[in-house]
Symmetry: D2
Subunit: 109 residues, 4 copies
């Protein structure tokens, strides 16, 4: 397959996109939504960057590396914010973001 | 998690989206691209439907079920076309599409 | 162009997707985010449905009509919720959703 | 509106995304698909980058500027390839890509 070398990073990005969507939707159903507003913002951007990164790696696009660099940044920001909150969805998202950031940083290096 | 009940279908959709993107990009690099044109068309629509279905299920959206119904149709069409071609990427895509169609059909039922 | 007959609907969907993204981001910065939580949920789904509908119409996909039917439903739901709030971003979004719903309903008919 | 300052660039990105989807779908229906394979590849990446750039600007995301820089690059590549082909869809796409590249370069500056 043309993208076999990206497999770990594609998986990490796909997982992280779903974790971020889950976290954003769950944050919107928390009692104190205002406390989660920054988390929701970062989740949304991170989800969309991860989805595009996975897609461009699947295509073996020449832009994949550059998107992975920005995706890593989105993941680091999101992990930091999610890590502040104790809900399961935030902790799971923070962990998915950290794993994805590591894979994307390897890709972008 | 708000979407735990959709987990198998979310995974099948995420996998299928990547398989379709891989197949489309690989088809575009085959010698006989014209023979693969219909496959590429169906891959693209199937990839985008799968990605949206996974996203809406992750959010526990009330539209998830309806999108899964259309996604299943896109997967069946794509599996049929990919199944006609012997390349590894087409065979892998056809298999991912069949698995995703089954999961989406359960969701939509 | 292969999609000339869809032009008005493609434009309405593109406009609506941006209006929904704008509204969701603006709602997240309101003082009373909790009051806007349902609006944000519906904005997100509507934005993603509109984006996919525009894409599938641009491709003259055979799934375009079915997606437009679901997109119209997402637009009607979002317009109803946004219409309850007096902020400019909600009123602009409600209007974009109504226009998009009308175009999508014509497409789906 | 939180994104009023990005309005011209959001519009250019939305237009370019549709022009790229139209061009890719039209290329796939040409008699000589092989001649268009590179065009289709670049159209796909450019469409997805433009869509994400428009979305992130609509959200006033702090990643908008970085994505616009990569989007400009995708638009320049796509415009160069599309510009080589005389079909209406390629010429229209090349023009949309050039306009979008200019707006994105202003954003990224």
């Amino acid at each position: 397959m043309l993208n076999a070398k990206f497999d770990a990073c594609i998986q990490a990005c796909s997982n992280c996109a779903i974790a971020c969507e889950t976290c954003a939707a769950s944050c919107l159903r928390e009692d104190d939504v205002k406390m989660m507003a920054r988390c929701i913002e970062l989740d949304r951007d991170c989800a969309d960057l991860c989805a595009l990164a996975a897609t461009l790696m699947a295509r073996d696009s020449k832009l994949a590396q550059e998107i992975c660099r920005i995706c890593a940044q989105a993941c680091r920001d999101c992990a930091e914010e999610c890590g502040k909150h104790q809900m399961d969805h935030c902790q799971a998202c923070a962990e998915a973001c950290r794993q994805c950031a590591e894979e994307c940083e390897k890709m972008a290096a």
